[in-house]
């Protein structure tokens, strides 16, 4: 037994989100682990396909929902390609949870704005679920989610559910040209929609995740709305092998994404050297 040996998990369900994005619901084989396993919103794990290797993703489900974990991935490399070939019932590996988490307790009693682009909704979704499962602990909940096109929107069923809830303000948007004739959401880039949604900054937290260019242009909007850098939270990813601070490749300057992250405030991000 060593720290690199994963738990075994079985694929309970697989949901195709888009043409190249899929969500897997995983259950621990060992009932003891299934019972004891706990994590915090924002933490990540090393998922493995035996024979292909390991891959790092955040846990896309919420710690408030016990007994399983979910991950969403885009098919790009060796491991994600192998993951795409797995069927329901197949056994995978999981190591974790690793890394820090969103400061859920601190956020209690505040408003929360979620801003996500593309597959970046996966880590944000974990917090959204967490917040909605403990809805009375938070005030206003606003979600701004954008993708390149309607076909690229992930978690479509959940978007529908969130849209129906009276206690959630949901703004979905697609890039100009990405809309379909029956698209009822917004058309435009995420920063513009955030400005349009204009969530109030007072006693608020923003959780943002998406392509670097989206984050780059959304941050000034949030600042203009009055959000301070220490209340804008994001989650980073970098190539990792061990997930536990030893293999030496996820650091951005002095900061280890696996140990100090993956969750960072915009204030912390601003101090990082330009190496991510």
């Amino acid at each position: 037994m060593n720290v690199y040996q994963p738990f075994r998990v079985r694929i309970e369900e697989r949901i195709d989100e888009t043409a190249d994005t899929r969500t897997l619901r995983l259950k621990f084989l060992d009932p003891d682990i299934a019972e004891k396993f706990d994590f915090k919103a924002g933490q990540f794990g090393e998922y493995s396909v035996f024979g292909a290797g390991e891959c790092t993703f955040c846990i896309a489900s919420s710690p408030t929902r016990k007994g399983y974990i979910e991950c969403s991935f885009k098919t790009v490399g060796k491991v994600t390609s192998a993951m795409k070939d797995l069927e329901v019932g197949d056994v995978m590996g999981f190591r974790g949870p690793y890394g820090n988490a969103f400061p859920m307790e601190q956020m209690h009693g505040g408003n929360v704005v979620f801003i996500a682009g593309g597959i970046g909704l996966a880590p944000v979704r974990c917090v959204i679920w967490n917040v909605l499962d403990e809805r009375n602990k938070f005030k206003d909940v606003t979600i701004v989610y954008g993708a390149r096109s309607v076909a690229d929107l992930v978690y479509k069923r959940e978007l529908e559910d969130w849209g129906k809830r009276p206690d959630v303000k949901l703004w979905t948007t697609v890039d100009p040209g990405g809309e379909t004739p029956d698209w009822k959401g917004q058309v435009g880039f995420v920063p513009a929609i955030v400005e349009k949604a204009s969530p109030k900054a007072d006693n608020s937290w923003a959780v943002i995740c998406g392509p670097p260019v989206m984050i780059k242009y959304t941050l000034p909007v949030l600042k203009k709305l009055g959000f301070t850098e220490d209340r804008i939270l994001t989650t980073l990813e970098n190539r990792m092998k061990c997930g536990i601070g030893k293999c030496g490749r996820c650091n951005i300057g002095p900061v280890y994404v696996c140990k100090d992250g993956p969750v960072f405030t915009a204030a912390e991000m601003a101090k990082l050297p330009n190496e991510f």
Binding site: Q5, G51, G53, V76, V91, R239, K246, C247, R249, G253
Partner: protein, 351 residues
């Protein structure tokens, strides 16, 4: 001062014979077929070469270039995990250099950073390090600039220094004491540490002054000069070969890969890796946060002299100089550090 004892050279030979007889593995610096000196398995103390720095370091005895982490076997949809036992036969490393022994202890920090690396510590537990005080080094040695010395005891269980017809033995750790107790007949009373002073002084003199002993200044400069053109300048000659990392006693970065043996079975292995190659940080998408050699050269210096000190209050370098000796393009860490100190203290340094 720790307690000392004494061992005659003849008894040292006998000690290695005792280890052999007891089935304890022995490794030490010995000649290779191509004439170099490597730490390697030995069966006799006669093979030990003490007057040349070994080409490799000790890290391979604790973090092998490749090691299996576990095997897997698929049965239908299920997968069985077969564990590699995390216990290793006892071994004595004899003739270790102080810089190499210290490196092992430096690495204990990261290997135990919140999560214990069992393969590393299982080998650590099984291994006793018998270090010989260094006779002195060449112009690339700079252990005294990173808080060590040719007779530093750090990381060693026993430290031997020559005196008369044998060696004064400093007992550094309980593990060292245990070895001395177990083979008490091989040890005797003899000269004290004082008798080795001249030897130690000569060694120290040979390595001093190659790099200013200002690790704090180096760290401060590296921490505040991420974008300095210095990095681009020194990286021009770098081939990105990673020879420095391979020979380094403290470079410990690794890769984890799955290797299928058959359609249903395979092994997950951990292999040495190096920050000097582009693949090291490349994302599956093709994006590479460390996209050129400039960033990679900076990373190596940064990790050793700024990041590790910030994390563990310890320098990830023991001044052995191997990276300078092995670099095919003449990149020299002593030069880099000396220039950094010069730039930091306002004494120029630009080429």
């Amino acid at each position: 001062m720790s307690t000392t004892t004494f061992i005659r050279t003849a008894d040292l030979k006998g000690l290695v014979a005792d280890f052999n007889a007891a089935g304890i593995g022995v490794a030490g610096p010995a000649r290779t077929s191509d004439g170099a000196v490597d730490y390697q398995s030995i069966t006799s103390f006669d093979a030990v070469v003490l007057d040349a720095q070994p080409r490799n370091s000790l890290k391979q005895f604790f973090l092998p270039p490749t090691e299996p982490l576990f095997k897997y076997a698929r049965q239908g949809q299920d997968v069985a995990i077969l564990e590699v036992p995390m216990s290793f036969p006892p071994r004595v490393l004899i003739g270790a250099r102080p810089c190499d022994a210290a490196a092992v202890e430096v690495l204990d920090r990261v290997m135990n950073w919140d999560y214990k690396d069992e393969p590393w510590f299982a080998r650590r537990d099984a291994t006793t390090i018998v270090t010989f005080a260094c006779p002195g080094g060449d112009r690339s040695c700079f252990c005294t600039a990173v808080g060590l010395a040719p007779d530093a005891t750090r990381g060693s269980d026993l430290l031997l220094a020559p005196a008369g017809d044998g060696y004064v033995v400093e007992i550094v750790t309980p593990k060292g004491q245990k070895l001395v107790d177990a083979y008490a007949k091989r040890f005797a009373t003899g000269a004290g540490v004082d008798a080795t002073k001249a030897y130690r002084d000569t060694a120290r003199a040979s390595v001093e002054g190659h790099v200013p002993a200002r690790p704090d200044v180096i760290r401060a400069w590296v921490e505040t000069h991420f974008e300095d053109p210095f990095w681009a300048e020194i990286s021009m000659r770098c081939h990105g070969c990673g020879g420095c990392a391979a020979s380094c006693p403290t470079c410990h970065c690794f890769d984890i890969v799955d290797e299928p043996e058959t359609l249903t079975e395979g092994v997950r292995r951990r292999n040495w890796d190096t920050c000097q190659t582009s693949l090291f940080t490349m994302h599956a998408s093709g994006h590479n946060p460390r996209h050129d050699q400039c960033g990679r050269c900076r990373q190596r210096v940064n990790h050793k002299f700024a990041i590790y000190p910030a994390r563990f209050n310890d320098i990830l370098c023991t001044g052995c100089g191997r990276c300078a000796r092995t670099c095919p393009a003449g990149q020299d860490v002593t030069e880099i550090l000396t220039r950094i100190v010069a730039m930091a203290t306002g004494q120029g340094g630009a080429a």
